[in-house]
Symmetry: C2
C-alpha cells in the first residue's frame, strides 16, 4: 500500500503501472494480486483510508477547541499541516479521487461530505454568535477547503517552509477570510 501511495501520488493513477507498484514494493507483478483484487481496488482502498484519516484530522481539531474562532483556526491549521505532511496520501484523496469507478466514488463521497459539514458547521456557529462576518457560508466553506487542499498540489518536502509553519500561516488566513 505504501508503494502504491508513493507511485500514484508521484505519477498519477493511469501513469502508474502495476509493475511500477510491484517494483517499489520489491515484489513480482503477480505478488500484488495476492493482496488486492485489481489496480482499481488498490486505489479505492487507499482513497477510502485517506478520506477516513482526513475526516479524523478535521473532527479531532474541532473537538480540541470551544469557540468558533478557536475551532476554525484549529481545523484549518491542522488540515493544512496534514496536506503538507501527508502530501502523498492527500494527493490521492484530492486528485486521484476522480479516477475511482462511479460506485467507489459514490461511497467515498459520503466521507467528503462529512468533512465539508464540519467546516460548514463551524462557520454557521461563528456567524450565529456574531464572531464571524461571512456573507455566503457555502462560498467561504469552499474557499477554506481550496486553500488547504491546494497545499497538496504545491507542497514539496524539499522546500524550506515546514508543515507546521504552513499550518500556522493558514490558520491566520482563515481568520481573515471570516473577518474575525
Amino acid at each position: 500500500m505504501e508503494a502504491a501511495v508513493d507511485a500514484f501520488a508521484d505519477k498519477g493513477y493511469h501513469a502508474t503501472s502495476t509493475r511500477d507498484i510491484a517494483a517499489r514494493a520489491n515484489m513480482s507483478p503477480a505478488g500484488v494480486y495476492v493482496h488486492f483484487a485489481s489496480k482499481q481496488d488498490l486505489l479505492f482502498q487507499l482513497c477510502q483510508r485517506g478520506h477516513v484519516l482526513a475526516l479524523e484530522v478535521v473532527a479531532t481539531a474541532r473537538e480540541s477547541a470551544d469557540t468558533p474562532r478557536a475551532q476554525l483556526v484549529a481545523i484549518v491549521s491542522a488540515f493544512a499541516r496534514w496536506h503538507a505532511r501527508q502530501f502523498s496520501t492527500a494527493r490521492i484523496v484530492q486528485y486521484e479521487f476522480s479516477h475511482l469507478t462511479p460506485e467507489h466514488r459514490t461511497e467515498v463521497l459520503a466521507l467528503r461530505k462529512q468533512i465539508d459539514a464540519v467546516v460548514s458547521d463551524v462557520l454557521h456557529a461563528g456567524v450565529a454568535s456574531g464572531d464571524f462576518d461571512v456573507p455566503d457560508v457555502a462560498v467561504t466553506t469552499l474557499a477554506l477547503q481550496s486553500l488547504t487542499i491546494d497545499v497538496a498540489r504545491w507542497y514539496d518536502p524539499t522546500i524550506r517552509r515546514t508543515p507546521e509553519a504552513i499550518g500556522a500561516a493558514y490558520g491566520d488566513l482563515a481568520l481573515r477570510l471570516v473577518r474575525a
Copy 2:
C-alpha cells in the same frame, strides 16, 4: 486541439488515448499526426497556449485599475472567472502541467512565474502604500492563487453559480485576505 482539450480535461492526459482524441475530432487516429508530432507535443502546445491566455487575463486585469486595492480585486475576480468559464483549459494548465516532459515543463514554468509575479507585485505595492496588511507576501500570493486555481478542480458547468458570480465573490475574499 479542441478535442484534445476536452479529452485531457475530462479524463486526464494518461487516461486519454490518441484514438479518443481522434474520435472526438471525427478523424482517424493517423489524421492527428498530420498536425502534431506526438501526444506529448499536443499536450505541450495546449499547455503553452493555456498559460499564455492565463497570463493575458491577469496582466489585462491589472492594467484595468490604478490602486493596488482595485488591481487586486480585478486580478482575482478575472482569474477566478477565467478558471470557471474556461475550466477545461484551466485544468490542463493546472493539473496536466505535471505530465509534461522536463524540457517542456521548464519552458512553461517561465510563464507561470510571470503570472506569479503580477500577483506578488500588486501585494508588495499594496503593503508599501499601507492599503494592505500582509505579514508574508509569499504565503498570501500562494493563497490567492490556490483559491482561484482550485476553481478549475470543482467547477462544473451544470451548477447554478455563474462564473461571474464566482469572480465577484472571490474578489471580496481577496480583499479579506489582505485586510483591505
